[in-house]
Symmetry: C2
């Protein structure tokens, strides 16, 4: 599919500057899953410049007018799908393209049940350390190994400056949780005022943040539903709002002033990620009344956002027993009218701190296979401490595995080609190609070279696991000869 | 349930010495999943002594006579199930208790759809290194972190001596793949004679091996079915048999002389693990004609074994796309009449060498949830090299996660209690208890202490991930207060 075959005619400032060259040409992924840090600088400034200042610049707004934006074409090519199909998906709300008009370095990404399953990596500093270079390094590492979006969860230091640097550098959509910064500006969580919170959101939107987690669905009347839980409210944002409401005995301002939020979203094309503040924090609390009461509210808010053409995705758990994961996805699709589901894991057991990238990648695969669109990674440090760069790496790979396994299971275009290509290289004992096609080439090669480092072994018909005498793939050559010449004999053998 | 409540009356030498004390008393696991290297020496010599020399000493044989053996009582207690129920399961073939009468240090384990999901760890030396102490260390580490069975896959050095040491030391069932030793004794795989293979099997049975992987179902007429595969035959044992058949143009001797095999099994209570020599080695080859032709043969052999009261489990794949995993289990249960399913992973993608403990733990969780009884671990080194002790550790934990997640999903007795207990400790900020209840306490504590090592933080109401101001569990105290006093206010708030 050519980058230019769509028939957009550029109404309302979208779809105009499509003849500016092909900044993504030549970077098209051979295997759709291997996202890479772009080799060349990319800017969509020309696409968005004409849109600035208009009342509603969301991708959904254009899609519903029948306009195929440059962003939709870009997404169509990445997904190996038609541009008109992408437009229709965005118009229906089943797919989002988080693409703030002020994030010009963005290479647009589609998130929805009919796109490849995506993964998010959380980065950001803590209250103690604040180092822009370090955060940019995390961003780069995450994107290099396949993060499709990143959330900057910084809570310390010069938050605005760090966010500016991350947005400017990032080729993937950047998300934030604005309540964190609002709380950082005051002494106690309950000191946040609604105006302060909206100021922070607008500031971040102006900076180019592509999506914000907003816990609009945690309502005052939901709080008693959490009383019998083992772990109460475990969402940071959810508990900040809950504490605020509990102290003030007032309703959630993000719910009460939802239209004010939508107004910001329309002007910047800021996508709402409706947070699940009441997600379960342990298996025992999964699928309880609190969780589903909030989900119902999020479904109502989804329809209100769509009335204003604002893009929405819904956040989901958390901690869920394996056999209930698919049900969570199905119920979300129903209650939220098909809006993309953005899940955190879920972890399928609570008992393995230190290995929660694994416990949660298991749940994430089941969620992705059932239709979840975006998987928020969990690192080995979850529940224990702030992840470092190595933890980010482990988390991204575990989730890339989950997302790709889901793509294969859902038979998404081209997904299994990658597996087949690597398996052919494996069978041919082409070790170098096998490493190159691996999700993490350096790690694969390092493990192989640990016992057989010499160059000779890069074409050897065995590895140290079985050795030459016991290598099945090597022995199989005898079977191949037999099959080539002697299958007549076989037919009468039994 | 008391260890003595069963009504066995000791026919045929089984069920006799039940009043010898309670060697396992006091070692009963609080949480059913935390298998530990036993603190005290254990011997079931008194149980098995009267059985020796009899024609058929299998657990299935006694079960079918209505006898509850000491092994069944032991298993019942571990599983929190009734002894009569265990007997009936063993009689039906749905559960096995691999317990060679010459493996007296064994603490019997039940493997079947109605027992806890079990995991196997492969150990064993390679042709290059041979060190008994090192292999015993791997055994100990694997069992300490929860391996329910171990396979000794040694292919070099003094194999017999290593196996003797492992069987003597092991509290868990030990399995082997006898064809490996047979091949080691000759120059080329095709030089193995049927007599040599049976001699090796009998020798290992006499040593006390509890179960053997035998590739009886790889038939000459199946070989052409593998011709179009991307990765051909990837089972080591399967390819050794296939190569032998291809060279000799003769049928598989383990199939042709299956009765000879059953005769050995009956005398020692050696359990058959019918190998899946034609399992798929990549996603593309999953669920193909070759795989299912062999499975059908294994179903036929299962019935023949059961005619002689020989215990059987069936080995399964391998590499399978996530959405096809449950189907593989359901089909095995049908084709093999409910005999326990022993799966290798399966890996849900081929593209992540270096992380195959994760790719396969995902498939293993789905398999265990669908009813697989025993999960053979895969380490990070799979496809790349021989695993070392650290790899064994990673593999065991990943599989313990999969097995426990499956136990929770299948609602097995007591399984979720463990999760709930840890979650309560987590919510109470009882860090020490949280570490103690973790699947891998040392790793969990080390990760926590990496940023907050001081003793003070072991009771702090936060960790370095969120810090004190942003800890949801800490903030939740405000919500608790509100719920305790103010829910009337909440009801009218919206």
């Amino acid at each position: 599919m050519s980058c230019c075959e769509h028939d957009s005619n550029g109404h309302n400032g979208a779809g105009h500057h499509h003849d500016q060259g092909h900044p993504h040409r030549g970077e098209h992924e051979v295997f759709p899953i291997q996202s890479l840090w772009p080799k060349q600088k990319f800017s969509r400034e020309a696409w968005v410049a004409p849109r600035r200042g208009r009342e509603n610049v969301t991708q959904m707004h254009y899609a519903r007018k029948g306009i195929i934006t440059e962003e939709m074409v870009f997404v169509a090519e990445r997904e190996r799908l038609g541009a008109e199909f992408i437009r229709a998906e965005v118009a229906s709300g089943r797919m989002i393209i988080p693409a703030n008009i002020n994030h010009t370095s963005l290479r647009p990404t589609g998130i929805g049940i009919n796109a490849r399953c995506k993964i998010n990596a959380n980065i950001g500093n803590s209250a103690v350390t604040s180092n822009i270079e370090k955060e940019l390094e995390k961003l780069k590492r995450a994107v290099k190994f396949g993060a499709d979006t990143c959330m900057d969860l910084s809570t310390g230091g010069n938050i605005n400056e760090i966010r500016r640097a991350i947005v400017d550098a990032s080729p993937v959509p950047i998300g934030t949780v604005p309540i964190y910064q609002a709380v950082q500006k005051v002494k106690k969580p309950e000191d946040v005022t609604p105006d302060l919170l909206f100021e922070v959101i607008e500031y971040q939107a102006k900076q180019g943040v592509d999506y914000v987690t907003v816990h609009c669905g945690v309502l005052l009347q939901h709080l008693p539903l959490t009383a019998k839980r083992i772990t109460g409210i475990v969402s940071r944002g959810g508990s900040l709002h809950a504490a605020w409401m509990a102290v003030h005995h007032k309703q959630n301002p993000l719910y009460e002033q939802f239209d004010r939020l939508l107004d910001i979203c329309k002007r910047y094309d800021l996508t709402l990620s409706l947070g699940d503040g009441l997600r379960p924090g342990c298996l025992a609390d999964a699928n309880d009344e609190a969780q589903f009461a909030e989900l119902k509210t999020l479904g109502e808010l989804t329809l209100r956002a769509w009335e204003e053409d604002v893009q929405v995705m819904i956040e989901g758990p958390g901690h869920v027993p394996f056999h209930l994961v698919a049900y969570n996805v199905e119920r979300q699709i129903e209650e939220c009218h098909g809006a993309p589901f953005y899940v955190l894991g879920p972890l399928v057991t609570d008992v393995a701190p230190g290995y929660d990238h694994i416990t949660s990648a298991i749940g994430a695969t089941a969620a992705g296979t059932a239709g979840a669109a975006l998987l928020c990674y969990v690192t080995p440090k979850e529940h224990l401490g702030l992840p470092n760069e190595a933890d980010v790496h482990q988390g991204v790979i575990a989730y890339k595995i989950a997302a790709h396994a889901a793509d294969v299971a859902r038979n998404r275009p081209g997904a299994r080609d990658w597996d087949d290509e690597l398996s052919r290289a494996r069978y041919a004992f082409d070790w170098k190609k096998q490493f190159a096609l691996s999700m993490d080439p350096e790690t694969a090669q390092a493990m192989h070279d640990e016992t057989l480092p010499a160059e000779y072994f890069k074409s050897a018909e065995f590895c140290s696991m079985c050795g030459p005498k016991f290598c099945s793939m090597h022995l199989n050559r005898l079977v191949e000869e037999y099959n080539a010449g002697g299958s007549q004999v076989a037919a009468g053998a039994k």
